[in-house]
Symmetry: C2
Subunit: 219 residues, 2 copies
């Protein structure tokens, strides 16, 4: 996984004190702040620089410092948004369109995945989730005879992502379209037209694993 | 969802210049840096304060500034770790232990969830995932007659979390135990002993949704 640096800081107790003083007395000048804290104005300068740069305080010329209501964060979110699908995707499990529903389910269990992608001639033609399988297993489908092509969600009704897409975009598609995972696809040649090949899978599991790594600062 | 403030900054071009100068000339004193940049030492003070507070530079007494190899991030991860299960959990779907497997599956579809929790006398006794349902639907189980108590994973073999736990802990349990969701539980009284009531559900979907919100800075 790609290593990146983040510029984040823990506020000192003096900086927290300044924030509280500004909240209670805004607008307040640096002279007034220095007097309340009992230090020189020069001594406060680095703290005030940090607090305005982080967007926590706003410095209004000739007025003083005010506590900013707008969110200060940006780097965290930039950081998260820079993680790409290819950084965390898994191997996809695929079957041919002629495979029976039963055999596809066996495949699902053997590979311990939640979604199977369906190919025809090496190209993505469909996707089947555990939910789709369960529906056909309790319905009237003869799962030992019916090919998976009958029950799958068929292209172009499948939401895909590409390896260079951000994980954020993938996560948003998963939530908005209410699916468990997305095929990661690539176009092989111009002649293929809209046809794509599946080269990976990005699921809620990948995102949960990423969340754990982000929390552990191991990304 | 709880609002929190993050102290993160975008480095200025002067700060980036300082980093490059330190990388190329370390260890380097603030006097030397000021000379190279063509400003006074006082003018550099806020920038150097920010760069050491973020952990990007390390100030070694009597030696000078060096570029730090250790990761500087902490607030991002602290921030993520402070989000609690109760902040993002969903409503749980529960059925009684005597419910047939078929009716539980219907319940699963009607509520569009991936896991059903099973109660007896109001207490959590088991959990059944889509995967468990699919296994029994394609197996020899007569899903119209067999009660869900027969196929469920039974307490105490269910991993639980509490509302005050961090989402990080929940995500880690989901990954380590390879489950899709966890019951959020609470002990009602001392007399209950180990018995717990289900008050929520935390799933990979909740975490994926949180990931989207974190990326969008809407948390």
């Amino acid at each position: 996984m790609v290593k990146r640096r983040l510029a984040t800081i823990n506020l000192s107790s003096r900086q927290k004190e300044i924030i509280e003083l500004v909240k209670a007395n805004q607008p307040i000048t640096s002279e007034q702040l220095a007097k309340k804290i009992g230090v020189t104005r020069a001594a406060l300068r680095p703290d005030l620089a940090i607090l305005t740069m982080t967007g926590i305080l706003e410095a209004r010329p000739k007025v003083g410092y005010i506590y900013s209501q707008k969110p200060s964060s940006n780097l965290v979110f930039d950081y998260i948004r820079k993680i790409k699908v290819k950084d965390i995707m898994s191997k996809p499990v695929t079957v041919d369109e002629q495979t029976t529903v039963y055999n596809a389910i066996v495949n699902l269990f053997l590979n311990d995945v939640g979604t199977i992608f369906v190919e025809n001639d090496g190209y993505l033609v469909g996707a089947v989730s555990r939910k789709d399988f369960l529906k056909s297993a309790i319905g009237r489908t003869d799962i030992n005879k019916v090919p998976i092509g009958i029950i799958m969600t068929r292209m172009p009704n499948i939401v895909c992502v590409e390896p260079e897409d951000s994980v954020y975009i993938a996560a948003k598609k998963i939530i908005d379209r209410e699916v468990d995972s997305l095929p990661v696809v690539e176009r092989v040649s111009e002649e293929d037209g809209d046809k794509v090949k599946v080269i990976g899978k990005l699921s809620k599991t990948n995102i949960t694993r990423l969340f754990v790594k982000l929390s552990e600062n191991k990304n």
